[in-house]
């Protein structure tokens, strides 16, 4: 049987101060990761509304990852602590509904962790690719 070469679509929300800068550093150091990852810049990971995550899945994303400063290092002192609770609750609920838990992730990447950013993205894309297309949380109206 031939393995279906599905190219996943990954939406990555990155906070401006740590993770977006970490992604820039990955670029500066020419650390490759799949082009499937598309980054959206937000001021802080706590700006990410669960509705944005669902929206991404609705529009055809196969995985959503949220990156922020390490706990304790938030530029706004406490934003990522709220992210941590919100996403823990949301991810657990998605899992409860039978959505594959590997499709969602929160990762803390500092501005100095270009290598971690690239490694995280490589790993996440690999896991999502293995799952194949997002069928359980798709909106057929939005499909090409």
């Amino acid at each position: 049987m031939q393995i279906n070469e599905h190219k996943p679509l990954i939406v990555a929300f990155c906070c401006n101060w740590c993770s977006y800068a970490g992604a820039d550093l990955a670029g500066n150091n020419r650390l490759n990761y799949p082009a499937d990852v598309k980054i959206i810049r937000v001021p802080c990971s706590c700006r990410v509304n669960p509705m944005f995550v669902l929206r991404a899945f609705q529009r055809g994303a196969d995985g959503v990852i949220i990156c922020g400063c390490h706990p304790g290092d938030c530029h706004y002192t406490s934003g990522n602590y709220y992210t941590r609770r919100r996403m823990a609750a949301l991810f657990s609920m998605l899992d409860f509904l039978g959505i594959e838990k590997e499709r969602t992730r929160v990762e803390w990447v500092s501005a100095a962790e270009g290598a971690k950013f690239a490694a995280t993205m490589n790993d996440f894309v690999e896991k999502v690719t293995a799952l194949g297309e997002n069928k359980r949380l798709e909106d057929l109206r939005c499909k090409k």
Binding site: M51, Y81, R85, A88, F91
Partner: protein, 332 residues
């Protein structure tokens, strides 16, 4: 059958009206049939004597009505609160949703309320008359000659079977004896679903949620859903939709509905009670409550006024979103 009687409540309401403590009473009023009790504002003794009812069908939680009733009414309103209603009452106070000064709350005991759909499942449609005895409910229908006796216990609402508290957490005055907080088995059903495989869970919810007709009754009855403008009615929110377009919409609606009340939901069970499709919506809310209790420590919304809901709170040692799954894998 309720230990406290309809007449006791009417007498209480009449005397509070008479002595000027309150100028209106928010209560249950007779519907067309014995079981379709509806909320109503009573202003006179006559109205009360004529229409006020208190029976096994008075499940409606009146806390939410206070939001709209108090800011349109100058006097003080009497409201009767069952134990579970008092939690919603407190939660709304925490969120500054009504003026406590304008309300006179009387706590009343509750022996559990009847699930009309369970009752109809036994008796069939066409109910013409309902009589309550201490153990049974005698139902006459237009199709049967003889009244059918149904055991009260067999037709209780799910939320009453798993009642979490007979204790009132808010009132100005209490009628009857105070009860206690109950260590109920309300999370068992959630745990059962958690124990399923992802495929089974997906199938379970696909089946349940596909029945949704987007009537919005769950939202409209929910005492935590008191937004001035609901996101589902707001074209700018990005999630507005009025019909159950497809399976994504169903899931989206119910996830967001439950998420919006996560940490604020008192587990009053109104969503499931009013659902015309009998979708066990309370399970979604309970999943959030169970998670919050496990992740961040026991929290009961509405147990006290002014408490900080878990999702607008944090500690530096909280678990990581990825650990949510590890935990369960270990437990399983």
């Amino acid at each position: 059958m309720q230990k406290i009687t309809q007449n006791q409540l009417i007498d209480k309401a009449v005397s509070l009206l008479a002595d000027g403590t309150v100028s209106a009473v928010l209560g249950w009023s007779k519907g067309e049939f014995g079981y379709d009790v509806t909320p109503k504002m009573f202003k006179t003794e006559k109205e009360l004597r004529q229409d006020f009812v208190w029976n096994d069908f008075c499940g409606a939680n009146f806390s939410k009505y206070l939001v709209s009733k108090t800011d349109r009414f100058d006097g003080k309103i009497l409201v009767f609160l069952k134990p579970c209603d008092t939690y919603s009452f407190n939660q709304l106070l925490t969120e500054h949703r009504f003026d406590r000064e304008k309300v006179y709350a009387v706590g009343i005991p509750c022996d559990g309320m009847v699930d009309v759909s369970k009752l109809k499942a036994v008796t069939g449609e066409g109910i013409s008359e309902i009589k309550e005895t201490s153990e049974n409910i005698l139902v006459s229908t237009i199709y049967e000659d003889k009244a059918i006796a149904v055991s009260f216990k067999d037709v209780l609402l799910e939320r009453c079977i798993n009642c979490k508290s007979k204790k009132h957490v808010a009132y100005d005055e209490l009628m009857g004896d105070e009860g206690e907080i109950i260590d109920s088995a309300r999370f068992d059903e959630v745990a059962k679903i958690e124990a399923m495989t992802p495929d089974e869970r997906f199938a379970f919810w696909q089946n349940e949620l596909s029945r949704c007709i987007r009537c919005n009754a769950c939202r409209d009855a929910c005492p935590a859903c008191t937004c001035e403008k609901c996101v589902f009615d707001n074209p700018a929110s990005g999630v507005e939709n009025k019909a159950p377009a497809n399976s994504f919409e169903e899931k989206m609606f119910h996830i967001i509905r439950a998420y919006h009340v996560a940490g604020r939901c008192t587990d009053c069970g109104e969503c499931s009670r009013v659902c015309p499709q009998n979708i066990p919506l309370h399970l979604l809310n309970r999943k959030f409550i169970k998670d919050i209790n496990e992740f961040y420590g026991e929290y009961q919304a509405g147990a006290e006024v002014g408490s900080r809901a878990p999702l607008v709170d944090y500690t530096t040692e909280d678990l990581e979103p990825g650990e949510v799954f590890d935990r369960r894998d270990i437990d399983a």
